[in-house]
Amino acid sequence: MTTIHDTLEALRESADARLAAAATIAELDEVEAATVGRGSPVATARRGLGQADPAERPALGRYINDVATEIAAKVAARRQELELAEANQRLAADRVDVTLPGRVPRRGTHHLITQTLEEMVDIFIGLGFDVATGPEIETAWHNFTALNIPETHPARAESDTLYVDWGEAEQTVLRTHTSPMQARYMMAHPPPVHVVVPGRAFRQDAVDATHSPVFHQMEGLAVDEGVNFAHLKGTLAHFAREFFGAGERVRFTPDHFPFTEPSAQMLVSCFACDGGGCRICSFVGWIEILGCGMVNPAVFRYVGYDPSQVTGWAFGIGVERVAAIRHGIGDLRHFFENDLRTLRQFV
């Protein structure tokens, strides 16, 4: 007759193999039931404990418990193994090709003109300048006369300036520059004045690679007592370094505009070749960036400022031009074709 002892020893010896053979949690559950569950030899042994010799009972009880505990621990260990394997299997089944395109949250782009204008405006905000905008349909008086551009000046010709049918004939134009806001701003504000004017301007130019009837400018104006040519130079040089890079050198050459005198052209050393000469700078090492000058006393007289009291400097910069230079855009038409392949590059 086999004893409890024999039975349990046999169970213990067979447990490892049976646990190893259990390939799933369900099989393991069966093994567990058959070894330590209800109806298992262990359970049978426990139930038979009462019939054992009372003297042997404690030892036998301990023995049964030891076997049960040992097998239960092995079951638990095997269970952990199997659970891990099953979890891994589930994850493996979840595998995808992560190199497929992601779901990119859709986002548009600001137009490069807007980005460039905002960047330029912000540089001057940093210097404590005000920002003003003004009408695009403008009076000929503000666009020309107040800026000391005489009646006979070729810029007023219909071949240069777009006129609109409003008010008296030839008195209303699509502003040809942002400069009329100089006059409007000064007429609305007593000196001192520090302001930049971003905006659109218009010319009678057919569209080609370097001309557009619609374009953008930023005007700047500083008027105060004691403002002089050194302020013009230093401020615009600061702007150029902020806008093009800290290492850029600037140069000023004389130019002529009716509304400033002395007038100048600001050039920056070519950021691409550092002045050595390359395609971007047409092999001269310098790039013309903006026109500027000391406000002509005649302009002060037109707007009601006293030129013996104040001096001022002003500049105007072409937005498309500097943006094109910075980003290598060789044809002005790209700014206005609104081709999304272009616009989406304006990150």
Binding site: G108, P135, N228, E261, P262, L343
Partner: protein, 803 residues
């Protein structure tokens, strides 16, 4: 304005040979260098030779054999020209020299046999030298030229041409002398001006000048030169003129042009006999006609100043001469005109006739009245030298009112006030005198302005010259700091609007501000639509850009169509910009039309195609969704959509945007006809709002603390009339639900047989949360009942049960 390095050197000893350095100096003086070009001889290896023997070709009658002595050796070459004899000095190209073919392409001279005789080199024609078109014979040089001399060294080669941009305030710099004066001032070296001396002989001049309009022509000089022989100008002059972009025509015309480029003053040479005895300077009669040198017959007006003979105009003063009195090959006697014309008169005539010439460009900016006589003499001098003419005694100089130099008073403090640098009296005097101003006194300086400088009238004009000559780069650098300023609230709002649109996936477009009638027709706008009342452009570039835009839609729709045509499928564009309304702008300037900012957007083409989902066609809810995002971000409390059928829009899938009691925009789908008119296929979602109305900054929004208690969430489905706007039902639910309502989502809308004809189901999910406690279902029951009752009462929706 073009000039050359060699020409400048005749006027000034330049301390540099480097064209780049000279260009930089010119830039810094304000004469922007647009081009620097090296001028090399079009030939090389050509030497001066002399013909010592000529004999017939053994096998050909039309060509000869000539022995050429080049000093160190003699060679016999074949020559087809007959315009020379033994003893002629010629240009000889030995093998290895480079000449030009009839097309102007270079070729290397070789040793080749011509009709059996080997010719080791050739005697050159002008065309072969690349110096002109003449190939009727070889070029015969002046006797006495040393044999063996490199022929190029006898001509102004090599040279460097500078093309300068002369600003309109500097007519005095539109010539070589003017530029040389500036360089002399810069380098602080003397300016050499040409010795203009002529010898007069023969009978006295007989031409008379009747100066009838001294306002239009304050000075008129006329000089007769007799016995000229019209022919080619000397090679050096032709080479120089052509380097400066002026085509050589004849010695007489070339001399006239040369003097203009040299001394600046335009002048004209008439055929003395075709002109007659009397020159009249007067205004034209209305309708009088003149055929100008360009062959165009022009009808004149009483505002045009003309040079006339006894009966008719012979030249448009300061602009262009006439054909009748033009110098021809047969001309022997000429009259040289050099005058000073009133700048506005010339400008208006040039403008009226659309005739802009080198002369008019100079006169309209202002020539020096006191340089006219000198220019006239210079022409006579060069005609004597190069055309064999002799000046007749007694030139006419009609100058009834002498124009003297004027004075400008210049306080030194003013120089400092503008430039920021304290100049001494000596420094200022030195600079200005180098430029030809005369200075007296110390402070203020009394500066006498030469009459060639019409731009200098005020102290600031002198300050400009001082600054230029001092060098802009030699002044200090300081930074102007404002007193605050910053981005105005309106601009901040505009930035926010753009950011919202970009965040919503739309890219910003920039379209032109013009539309055409076809665009407005394409939108299907009724005749009385205000968007048809655009402001016309008087001189549009193209008719289709003839009106200022009243809506941003045409520009955006065209941009959308262009993208789809280029196979860019998922179009999402917006634009924020001005539209132009023909009503006085009371806020900015009542003299101007209103120019409010508008915002529009368009979604066209299949959207959102990807490997795990099909693309979706845009529809009205894309448009209204953008609007909702805008309304939320811009805090447009109380704004709502109202189903409507506005022009251009799909009548059943569009809405008007209501805010503060009025319509200020439309959203929805484009009318299919409008989409088709703009070349767009499928549904197109668009919106446009009057942005100007929402650019005012709202007050600060106030924070609401999110509740930390759990919500009660339940769904309500209503059986309601199919035409009931969901917004009406939602509004009722929201109002009755009260302040505890945290969230409301419409999550299901359907129609079907189970509801019956004309009915639909709208289901909403409501989430309630209290700030201070956990809500219970019991608490919610009366609210739910109240909502159901109100929906039934107010909008006729029957509660279908709770999902």
């Amino acid at each position: 304005m073009k000039t050359t390095m060699r020409w400048l050197r005749e006027f000034v000893d330049l301390p540099t040979e480097d064209p780049g350095e000279l260009a930089s100096v010119l830039d810094n003086l304000g004469f922007a260098v647009e081009e620097v070009r090296r001028i090399d001889a079009p030939f090389s290896g050509v030497v001066v030779g002399s013909v010592t023997v000529i004999r017939p070709h053994p096998d050909a009658d039309s060509i000869r054999l000539a022995t050429v002595d080049t000093g160190d050796r003699q060679v016999e070459v074949v020559c087809g020209a007959w315009n020379f004899d033994v003893g002629a000095t010629i240009a000889f190209s030995p093998p290895g020299a480079t000449l030009r073919d009839p097309d102007g392409n270079p070729f290397e001279v070789g040793e080749r046999a011509i009709r059996g005789v080997v010719s080791p080199g050739m005697i050159c024609s002008l065309r072969e030298l690349g110096l002109g078109d003449d190939h009727t014979g070889i070029l015969v040089l002046a006797d006495g030229t040393p044999l063996g001399t490199d022929f190029a060294s006898l001509l102004p080669y090599p040279d460097v041409m500078f093309d300068l941009e002369i600003t309109p305030n500097r007519p005095d710099a539109m010539c070589t002398e003017g530029i040389a004066r500036e360089l002399a001032a810069h380098y602080q070296v003397p300016l050499r001006t040409p010795e203009v001396e002529i010898t007069e002989s023969g009978p006295p001049a007989t031409v008379t000048v009747d100066l009838q309009d001294p306002d239009g022509c304050p000075r008129f000089t006329a000089r007769e030169v007799r016995g000229v022989t019209v022919g080619p100008a000397p090679l050096w002059m032709r080479i120089r003129l052509e380097a400066c972009g002026v085509r050589s025509l004849s010695n007489v015309v070339d001399v006239s042009n040369y003097v203009m480029l040299e001394l600046g003053h335009p002048n004209h040479v008439f055929d003395r006999h075709r002109l007659g005895d009397r020159i009249v300077v007067r205004r034209a009669g209305d309708g009088e006609r003149l055929e100008t040198l360009d062959g165009v017959t022009r009808e004149l007006t009483a505002a045009d100043l003309v040079i006339a003979d006894a009966t008719k105009p012979v030249g448009l003063a300061g602009v262009m001469g006439g054909g009748d009195s033009e110098v021809s090959a047969a001309t022997t006697d000429v009259v040289i005109e050099a005058a000073y014309f009133d700048p506005p008169t010339v400008l208006l005539t040039a403008k009226r006739h659309g005739l802009h010439t080198e002369a008019s460009a100079r006169f309209q900016r202002g020539m020096d009245p006191n340089n006219a006589e000198r220019a006239n003499r210079r022409v006579a001098q060069l005609l004597a030298e190069h055309a064999g003419g002799v000046a007749a005694p007694g030139a006419v100089d009609a100058y009834p009112a002498h124009i003297p130099p004027w004075q400008v008073e210049l306080p030194l403090a003013e120089v400092e006030r503008v430039t920021g640098r304290r100049f001494t009296s000596d420094e200022v005097t030195s600079i200005l005198e180098r430029l030809g101003f005369e200075c007296q006194g110390a402070d203020p300086l009394a500066v006498t302005v030469p009459t060639r400088r019409p731009d200098v009238r005020e102290p600031v004009d002198l300050i400009e010259d001082i600054a230029r000559l001092w060098g802009y780069d030699n002044f200090g650098d300081e930074v102007s700091l404002g007193y605050g300023g910053g981005l105005p609230a309106r601009e901040q709002r505009l930035r926010k609007v753009r950011a919202v649109m970009v965040g919503a996936g739309y890219s910003e477009a920039q379209t032109f501000a013009f539309v055409g009638q076809a665009d407005l027709d394409g939108l299907g706008l009724p005749a009385d639509d205000r968007r048809r009342q655009g402001i016309a452009v008087v001189n549009p570039l193209r008719e289709e850009e003839g009106v200022m835009r009243t809506t941003l839609l045409p520009g955006l729709l065209k941009a959308a169509a262009n993208n789809l045509n280029r196979r860019v499928p998922d179009v999402a564009l917006f634009e924020a910009g001005k539209v132009f309304i023909p009503a006085p702008d009371q806020a900015v300037d009542p003299d101007l039309p209103a120019q409010p900012d508008a915002l529009a957007w368009v979604l066209a083409g299949p959207q959102g195609a990807s490997w795990d989902g099909a693309a979706r066609e845009p529809d009205v809810f894309d448009a209204t969704g953008v609007w909702q995002r805008l309304a939320a971000s811009l805090e447009l409390g109380g704004a709502e959509l109202r189903q409507a059928s506005p022009p251009a829009m799909h009548p059943e899938r569009s809405a008007e945007v209501m805010w503060e009691g009025s319509v200020f925009g439309v959203v929805g789908e484009l009318h299919p006809n409008v989409a088709a008119a703009f070349g767009l296929e499928g549904r197109v979602a668009v919106g446009e709002i009057d942005l100007e109305r929402v650019l005012a900054t709202p007050p600060f929004w106030t924070f609401e603390t999110p509740s930390s208690y759990p919500p009660v969430i339940f769904d309500l489905a209503f059986d309601c009339a199919a035409e009931l706007p969901a917004a009406a039902l939602v509004a009722t639910v929201r109002r009755v639900a009260g302040p505890l309502l945290e969230r409301l989502d419409v999550f299901d809308v359907f129609t079907g047989d189970q509801l019956g004809e004309g009915r639909k189901s709208i289901a909403v999910r409501l989430g309630f949360r209290a700030p201070d406690r956990t809500l219970t279902d019991e608490e919610m029951a009366p609210i739910r009942r109240a909502i159901a009752a109100a929906v039934e009462d107010e909008v006729g929706g029957m509660l279908r049960g709770e999902a």
